[in-house]
């Protein structure tokens, strides 16, 4: 099975551990990820804030490159997935002039949704060597992955299930909560710190109130927001994992501490306590 892969800018910088875990997980599953050649940034929030035309044109270049490969795209970053989908819909409506040859016919998958399909869940279950028994987690989806449903195609946008299904498949105990898709503030914390912190802190508090020991995310920005806010915190710390990191942990007999080196909130203690890491 082959897929074209659009990593996005974050996976080269702040979330390079996410990128590494994706590589190993897909290798283990026997799926070839072919990186889109010479991809460029999707524009993120800034592009559609300042110029709607750019928010269609920038992802269109990546779509054009992927169409050359002729494979469906899978995007790990929520914002990238959203912009690719948005751009594709706009191209189909032919509202903008785009300098690249794009038909907009290729399927764009969100990585969590792709791995949460029944066939993939079965594949994941087959590869598990060490299930994550006893690890209580809540799944946090963020906003860009599920909303607006007209663009993302999520029908269960109020209570999305993709990460929950994956986390349950690898043996973790998934706790239901109501802040699954509340916004974490994204990049607003850079310019207006108090807004960003108030939003992120609320999500963290609610996650801790449910009794969860860790948060599972799929968006690089959500991870860094939830992780960095705990840097000076005392008391209970709630590590924030990318979902592929947990899959990777379940796939291998002996996990390594090095995989979690990039976390600000150190998860090694928790994992050792649960007997998941030597």
């Amino acid at each position: 099975m082959k897929l074209s892969y659009y990593p996005g800018c974050s996976l080269e910088g702040m979330a390079s551990d996410y990128a590494r875990s994706i590589d190993t997980v897909f290798k283990d599953l026997g799926i070839d990820l072919i990186e889109i050649e010479d991809w460029s940034c999707c524009g993120a929030t800034a592009a559609h804030s300042l110029s709607e035309m750019m928010s269609v044109a920038l992802p269109a270049r990546n779509l054009a490159e992927a169409e050359k490969l002729g494979l469906d795209i899978v995007a790990p970053c929520a914002r990238c997935f959203n912009s690719l989908r948005f751009s594709q819909q706009m191209i189909k409506r032919q509202l903008f002039d785009i300098p690249w040859q794009v038909a907009g016919e290729i399927q764009v998958h969100d990585m969590t949704r792709f791995l949460a399909e029944p066939s993939m869940i079965k594949l994941i279950k087959e590869r598990i060597r060490k299930p994550l028994n006893g690890l209580k987690v809540v799944c946090y989806y963020g906003c860009q992955m599920v909303r607006p449903p007209k663009i993302t195609g999520f029908t269960d946008y109020e209570n999305p299930q993709t990460l929950d299904r994956i986390a349950a498949a690898i043996g973790a105990e998934v706790i239901d909560w109501s802040y699954k898709s509340t916004c974490c503030g994204a990049s607003i914390g850079i310019a207006r710190k108090e807004i960003g912190e108030s939003l992120t802190r609320r999500i963290l508090q609610k996650a801790q109130q449910t009794g969860a020991e860790a948060i599972v995310v799929s968006c690089p920005l959500c991870q860094s927001n939830l992780d960095i806010i705990q840097k000076n915190a005392s008391g209970i710390l709630t590590p924030v994992f990318y979902f592929t990191e947990l899959i990777r942990l379940a796939f291998e007999e002996n996990g390594s501490q090095k995989w979690f080196r990039q976390h600000i909130t150190d998860p090694v203690g928790l994992l050792r306590e649960k007997g998941l890491l030597n």
């Binding site: 800018c9 974050s10 080269e12 910088g13 702040m14 390079s16 010479d38 991809w39 460029s40 940034c41 524009g43 993120a44 929030t45 800034a46 592009a47 559609h48 804030s49 300042l50 110029s51 709607e52 035309m53 750019m54 044109a57 920038l58 270049r61 002039d97 300098p99 690249w100 906003c143 860009q144 909303r147 607006p148 449903p149 946008y157 509340t182 916004c183 503030g185 994204a186 990049s187 607003i188 850079i190 310019a191 207006r192 710190k193 807004i195 939003l199 960095i228 840097k231 080196r261 990039q262 976390h263 600000i264």
Partner: protein, 234 residues
Amino acid sequence: MLVGHVFQKAKLIRKSLFGECETMYKNLPDQEAAPEPGFRKERKLIGDRGNYFLNRMQGETGVNISACFQCERCTNACPVSHFMDTKPHQVIRYVQLGWREDLLNSSTIWVCLSCEMCTTYCPNEVGVAEIINHLRNMAAHSPITPKERNLAIFHQTFLEELQRFGRVNEFWLMKSYNLKPNILKEKIKTGMLKEELLLGLTLWRKGRLRLAHPRTKAIKEIKEVYRQKRGEIA
């Protein structure tokens, strides 16, 4: 007495003819009572702008703005509505009334996170987030100074970085953002700079910062799109 009455009438007619409606309204007795807190002091005329702005917004965004019945579902769903001066449901009403300047001067359009809560939960499928986003576009292309200056500068910096390298790197983005006028000064004053540098150091130690800037080969094509956007001819 009769002459005085006629004079007053003539004055009123002249005022209404020359468009001094607002001052006329101010002289009405009910306005003299102290306004309740939260009410705008100068009263605006409702419907004096016509449908021009409403039609324009509906045409450009493809959203049926007239369908809004002010149920305030959007404002209740919004995670940042308490940081906004004009609430999301008011934004829709202002568009219907054609109060363009109030909207472009508001902090709402910059504080909005585009999290799409409002659009998703609207019972009438009014795309509130799309409208706010379009207003932000309009504000960015107008001479109006943005009310949330730092947020506007951040978006601008992001696009500039993108235009230079084709991809965005967190370290370089923060560097360029901090070098924008007044940002560094503000940060030194509030002590944010020290905090940020310490955070940067921790991130670097953990191996999360990449100092070398990744680039795309197709940077020329991307710059071309920018030129088109600005209406320049190559």
